[in-house]
Amino acid sequence: MAEKKLSKKLILSVAETARNPKNRLHVISRNGKWVVRKEGAKRAFGIYPTQSKAIEIATARVKAGKTDDAVVHDLFGHVSQKIV
C-alpha cells in the first residue's frame, strides 16, 4: 500500500515552527535528571532531581505569567502533559 504523502502546506507549517519558538517551557529528562528549559534555548533554566520538582517550578512560572505555558515530555520525548 502506498504511503500517504503529506501536503506541502503541512510540511511548511511544521518547518516554520523551527524559527518561531513559543514562549513555552519544556520539562524534559536529561541524564537521569529533569530540566526546565525555554523553547529554543541552548541552556536549561534549571536542573532538578525529580520530574515532580521540575513540573512544580514550571507550573509556578506559568501561574506567575512569566511564560505562556509549559509542556512535560516523557522519557521518549513525547508530550505527556500541558500546563496552562
Binding site: L6, L10, S13, A15, A18, H26, I28, K42, L75, G77
Partner: protein, 209 residues
Amino acid sequence: MPFESNVFINCPFDKFYVRLLQPLIFTVVYLDLNPLVSETKSSGQVRVERIKKLILNSKYSIHDISRSEALQGRDLPRFNMPFEMGLDLGCQSFGKSKLNFKKSLVLEKTKYHYQKVISDIAGQDIESHNDNPEELIRKVRNWFAAVLNSHQPSPTLIWDSYNDFLDRMSEQLKAEAFSKDDIESLPVSNFVILAKQWIGLHRKDSNKK
C-alpha cells in the same frame, strides 16, 4: 544524495522501536546526513533487492540488533537485522573501491549482549542504548563525530531540539486532524521529510543567533 552522505538504517519497525527510530533519524538528519530506511513490506525478493541497493548507496550504516531476541514470552526473535548487517559487512569486505571505505555502527540494547547471540561481530563498532533515546542520540552522535573527524552539535543540543520538534510537530499535525495514533505511527518517509525541513530552518536560525 551522494554516497558520502547516505546512512543506511537497519532496524526493527515494531511499535516500541518507533520511539527509538525517530530520535535516531532525527540525529542523522541533524548531523547533515541522509537516512535511508527500507520500511516497505514488499515480497522477500523485492525487499532484499531494495536493501542491497540501499547498502551499495550508503557510506555509513547503523544496524540495531537489539531485537534479535523475543520481545515477550511468545514472540519470536527477529533475524532480518542480523541478516542485513551480514550483507552490509560482506559488501564492505568483498566490495571494491569506495565500498571498502564504508563504516558501520552496531547498536544493541545492553552492553556485550552481542557476545551471546552473534559473537562473530566482535571488533566492529558496537554501542548499547538501553532502549533509551537520549543515550541512543549520544552514542550515534559521538560515533559520527569520530568517523567524520569533525565538530558536531552536542548530544544535549540534539536531544533538546528533538523534544522541541516532537512538541511542535504534534501540535501542527493535531491541528490537521491527525490523532495521537496517527502521529505515533507516522510513516518513516513522512517523519524524515518533516524532520529535514524543520532541522533545515532550525539550524539556519541557530547560526544567526
